[in-house]
């Protein structure tokens, strides 16, 4: 080994160096001494991710293997520019390069993203730079008009597109699988029942829903539980779809779909429900949301907040925030409680459904791939690749614990109108 190689290895950190030495006898190709500058740069990037079991091939034919055991997937990098961008901000540019095809993945995309997710948690390298970027950066504004733009960006892509890979009821939130083998359709109905049972909905209850998607839960609460529902959403396409369904089902009298922001909710309701909207609210607006909940709940009122979350505060993956969910932020449970604590509300139950979201995403990704040809007819190749990566990346994030799913049930402080145990959620009334 030449002295300058030894220095480079020193630079790459002891961990990478250790692995490189171990591998020397096994595979001559991976010897850092034989890699060019770009190969060594890639080597270092992988080292900073804890040497995940991957195979990376560069445009010049150089291959870098890392990790112990077989590679879970291979990555082909098409040019120097893609590599350098990856080095500067892997979180953002991996997605960008995958989207435009300058990065190609061979093998299991989800497994690749899982080892990357696990590596990111312990990333030693470029961490300072990334944290700096993260601390300077902020999610986009969710003030009233900006919120409309942000929501339009994602949810008004066309109902046709979502229909290709969501369940029959068009639920675009974490399902609840009583057992892992039930179908996605069953699990989405089970999720709606889980929410309604937690809220102990009774015939005649007035319910307000903040962020109602295509209206499935609102319609379910009205038709299966006899509730009187007013549901809010600022996505025009979703509201139009929901209204059409309500008319077709003949329940227009019992479900009112409002194309309006949650901040404009007025009136009093027995229950407040929000499933999968909080991610779009933004931390700056949690106080407002708390005041909305407070003013609409009477003495025996109760509510549920269902949201993607995190164990520790961190901005959403930069690429997802840019390409998929502008303005989105997944709160920690502690941040979610900042909505409720200042009001006279009491937390009754919190359930983390992280693995249920991973399984939901497995279903969505499979259906998306099955519908790939149809999606390709509707959108360009970049769109297809971007969405595949987003679904696969989200699945990896829930599987590895980078994302959580919190269901928080609360009630008016001091109200004793609550079930004695949680057994009623599991088929036994106590």
């Amino acid at each position: 080994m030449k002295p300058d190689d030894a220095q480079l290895l020193e630079l790459s950190g002891r961990r990478a160096a250790g692995i490189a030495r171990t591998r020397r006898s096994q595979d001559a190709r991976v010897l850092p001494a034989e890699l060019g500058l770009e190969g060594r740069l890639m080597r270092r990037l992988l080292g900073s991710l804890g040497d995940p079991p991957l195979r990376v091939t560069l445009w010049n034919g150089e291959s870098i293997f890392t990790g112990r055991g077989n590679a879970v997937a291979g990555i082909r990098i098409a040019d120097r520019s893609a590599l350098l961008k990856l080095f500067i901000n892997p979180e953002l540019y991996f997605g960008e390069a995958y989207g435009d095809g300058s990065i190609e993945v061979d093998g299991d995309l989800v497994k690749l993203l899982e080892v990357a997710c696990r590596g990111m948690e312990h990333a030693s390298f470029s961490g300072t730079l990334r944290h700096l970027v993260k601390s300077l950066d902020r999610p986009r504004s969710n003030a009233l008009s900006a919120a409309r733009d942000n929501i339009h960006h994602h949810y008004d892509l066309g109902n046709e597109f979502y229909r290709l890979w969501l369940d029959r009821e068009m639920l675009y939130t974490c399902a609840y699988f009583p057992t892992p083998d039930v179908s996605l359709e069953q699990a989405q109905v089970a999720k709606m029942d889980h929410v309604c049972r937690k809220l102990r909905l009774r015939p005649g209850d007035a319910v307000v829903e903040a962020g109602c998607g295509w209206g499935a839960l609102a319609l379910h609460m009205a038709t299966r539980y006899g509730a009187q529902v007013r549901a809010f959403n600022i996505s025009r396409e979703q509201i139009a779809y929901a209204r059409a369904r309500a008319r077709a089902m003949g329940v227009g009298q019992r479900v009112e779909f409002m194309e309006d922001d949650y901040r404009n909710i007025s009136g009093r309701y027995d229950a407040f429900v929000s499933v999968g909207m909080l991610e779009h609210v933004g931390r700056d607006h949690y106080g407002e949301l708390g005041r909305v909940i407070d003013r609409c709940l009477p003495r025996n009122g109760r509510g549920i907040l269902h949201s993607i979350g995190q164990d520790q505060p961190a901005l959403l993956n930069a690429w997802i925030e840019k390409r998929i969910f502008p303005g989105a932020y997944p709160p920690t449970l502690r941040e979610m409680l900042a909505i409720l604590e200042p009001q006279e509300l009491s937390v009754l139950d919190v359930e983390n459904l992280r693995l249920h979201y991973a399984l939901t995403l497995e279903h969505w990704l499979r259906r998306f791939e099955d519908a790939r040809e149809r999606v390709s007819e509707m959108y360009d190749e970049r769109f297809v690749r971007t969405w595949r990566l987003y679904l696969a990346g989200s699945l990896a994030a829930f599987n590895t614990g980078n994302l959580q799913l919190f269901q928080v049930l609360f009630a008016r402080a001091g109200s004793n109108d609550m079930p004695w145990t949680r057994a009623h959620l599991y088929g036994q009334w106590r």
Copy 2:
């Protein structure tokens, strides 16, 4: 009505005045115009609590009725000094005066305290003064040596005393009643099983318990679940009792009772358990507790924190902190999460068992009253009255929602070794 009476009524606030006028035709005795200065002072104090349905009789024979409907209880105040102290700081001096007998209660003590608890939430009067006192005051220190004094104060009163009114296993924490009609003994065993099931204890699991009381849970985990337990407590009497039980049961090899502070926990364990200790830790030490949990849990580790809590941050009732639990503080759920969030830990499940603690206290209070004669032989009258008020006051606080009981289950971030749903807690394994 003379002009100065009208001014006094004006001073006492519109609410009290309104009620006084309503009652005028019903009962001439309660006319503020007929009360002396002390009676009007008492009237005002009750008005500030939202005019609870109470009857107060002063040493001079004056009676004040408030609220609509029948009084739930009567209060007799023996002298002017007791009244004035009550006016200055009702939270502290009600207990002091009840303890020394200068306040006597006729009728249902718990109901009286419940209406007072509800009134305190909306107290308009002396609120500024009380908040000032609260913000200046702090619970006593829980640094290592102070913690020993604080714990000794309460838990080393003598095992004989606690044996008179606790369950057979001597559990001095919230029980879990699968149905409200099971006995206290059954409910305490059910609580231990609820905790062990949440932790999914398996034979051979190493468990560390922080704050083990008289050792019942540690012994239960070892004998019923085959766990290897190390349990910490700084109460000398409790540890001696627990060690004697372990010897008598022949499980000294599997349960180790350490007379030591949780901050001195070392080693690695599959599970961390703490039931009813956090109340004594103090907010200043939550970071330390989090680091203790972090250093003792491996990759698949999990843990439970079970603690009395509150919906919003507020100091513990001043009298309880002074007479019963020096240094104690019941955290909000959000404050509890400050222990876990900075560590690589993920919240899986939170359950609020507030009404279970109310029912536990109902059992304790009944047993305490049944054992009153025996307690009187062991301690003086002030002790008996102080403990009765503490048990009744705690019952009232849980019933009205002034206190909560949070069970927080957590695991290492990213560990997928968790049950698919919570159905296994309710008699069904999934």
